[in-house]
């Protein structure tokens, strides 16, 4: 019994002796860590270097300016100027490219629609690659998905999006799907921060700096149009499109959602979208449906049009037809 108590006392002594040692070492470690984080000196140069090295960085730094940035709709022209300067500066720092950033506004009296002739489309994916380059997408992503469908039905279960080789194949037709710019958009309704909304010309846009990356909209979209940035986009420096707009094709930060915006940086100054100009078959038609002289109005009056998943009442601005 006494032996036991002796041994216990010894153990306690040892513990008591060790305790101050432990605390001292802990404090020492804390001080070193603090020194490394707050006063990076000569010894920590290699450590600090990993953060400034472009290749290892996970995108532009989160700054005070960026964190307290206003909502796009509440920005004054001065605010916009400051924000555009910041984004231009960060793109220069991270990607090494001088960009011209703008935010062209919707033209009054214009409602954009897109028509796609499925009899003409042969699934060659020129539009997919043109879109990727025009909109500064990561080189492993695409906003347009071309589905290879079986003739005689619209069963998406039987569709193939990974087809290769010579097209068109026998017994197949090709259905390109991108954002349909719905007039009753489910993605806009679910956004908890109102970072996405519908503009007057029919384009559904995203404020990438207001998006928190919750991906509710991706789940709500019945067309799989929205894509998520799991990482900072990796783009070859010489392929970056320098004509960028704030709500459209500027390089998206990591952790935000993105989608087709009808090339708003081109269409709002009167040009055709990039996918249309890349299509060698001329299957894509774009224009202002409110103008009775435009080619889209003529298609609207002469062809039998349909939309995807009409039963969901999303009212898309993107129509398909056969002729």
């Amino acid at each position: 019994m006494s032996e036991n108590s002796n041994s216990n006392n010894k153990k306690i002594d040892v513990l008591l002796k060790e305790k101050p040692l432990k605390r001292r070492s802990f404090l020492k470690a804390l001080a070193t860590a603090g020194a490394i984080t707050f006063f990076p000196g000569k010894q920590t140069k290699a450590f600090a270097g990993t953060f400034t090295d472009k290749k290892d960085r996970k995108g532009p730094h989160l700054t005070w300016e960026k964190f307290f940035q206003k909502y796009y709709k509440e920005m004054t022209p001065e605010d916009k100027k400051r924000v555009f300067e910041r984004i231009t500066r960060e793109t220069k720092e991270y990607y090494g490219v001088d960009i011209t950033l703008a935010d062209p506004q919707p033209i009054p009296g214009v409602k954009f629609v897109f028509f796609l002739n499925l009899s003409k489309c042969n699934g060659n994916r020129r539009c997919v690659i043109a879109c990727q380059k025009e909109n500064n997408l990561d080189r492993s992503k695409a906003w347009i998905t071309v589905l290879e469908m079986e003739n005689g039905g619209f069963d998406f279960e039987k569709s193939d999006r990974h087809y290769t080789g010579i097209v068109p194949k026998d017994g197949k037709f090709y259905l390109p799907v991108q954002c349909l710019q719905c007039d009753n958009p489910p993605c806009v309704k679910v956004c908890p921060t109102e970072a996405t909304w519908k503009e007057k010309d029919g384009i559904v846009v995203i404020d990438y700096d207001w998006c928190i990356g919750c991906r509710y909209c991706q789940a709500a979209c019945p067309y799989e149009a929205r894509k998520f940035n799991w990482k900072t986009p990796e783009i070859p420096q010489d392929e970056i499109n320098t004509n960028q707009n704030y709500l459209g094709n500027r390089i998206r930060p990591r952790g935000t959602i993105e989608k087709c915006h009808f090339c708003s940086h081109r269409t709002r100054v009167g040009r055709y979208p990039a996918c249309l100009e890349a299509c060698p078959t001329g299957a894509r038609k774009f224009g202002n449906i409110l103008d009775p002289e435009s080619e889209v109005s003529k298609i609207f009056n002469t062809k039998t049009l349909f939309v995807l998943k009409e039963e969901l009442n999303t009212k898309p601005s993107f129509f398909y037809y056969f002729d």
Binding site: N122, R125, S140, E295
Partner: protein
């Protein structure tokens, strides 16, 4: 009498007002249309492989025989047509000729195509058929028929699909969901 005169002047004034309002409201509508837009059609002659034709074909070129022997081309346009001079002018090898004998350049070949393909020509004319580039609200560039369709084998050729960027290397085997 004076009352009557007043009435008349009032009527004239009303008429004038009506016409002024009408003209003013119609004028901007007239300017709004796409009538004044420039449409450029891409020239064909500068892109042709054997241009100018007269470097080989001198004089009239009757009796050349089977078109499949010329320029190593495969002729798959119409059944039972086996004659170059159906479209090509026999007077001038650098021209095409219409049914009434009018000769046209290769840049206007759509005028020849429309003789059979009138419906497609009507669509092409308003911009529904074929690729148009440029501005939906402004100058457009349009392709000639023969820019996209080979006149001797007009069916749109099959082409190699570009790879899908989101393709993953290990595609799941077919039939296994």
């Amino acid at each position: 009498m004076s009352q009557h005169k007043n009435l008349q002047t009032d009527e004239v004034g009303l008429c004038l007002k009506f016409w002024v309002v009408l003209v003013l409201s119609i004028l901007p509508m007239a300017n709004h249309g796409y009538a004044e837009e420039q449409i450029t059609i891409i020239e064909r002659e500068s892109q042709m492989g054997f241009w100018p034709c007269s470097s080989c074909h001198t004089g009239n070129f009757k009796g050349l025989g089977d078109p499949n022997n010329q320029h190593q081309l495969t002729f798959k346009h119409m059944e039972n047509v086996n004659e170059c001079l159906f479209c090509h002018s026999f007077k001038n090898p650098e021209r095409l000729h219409l049914e009434d004998g009018t000769t046209i350049t290769f840049n206007e070949s759509y005028r020849l195509c429309t003789l059979c393909h009138g419906e497609i020509y009507r669509e092409w004319k308003v911009g529904i058929h074929g690729l148009q580039t440029g501005y939906w609200k402004g100058p457009k560039t349009r392709r000639n028929c023969t820019q996209c369709h080979n006149a001797h084998a007009p069916k749109f050729p099959p082409m190699e699909a570009l790879p899908n960027p989101v393709d993953y290397p290990n595609k799941p085997a077919e039939g296994k969901h």
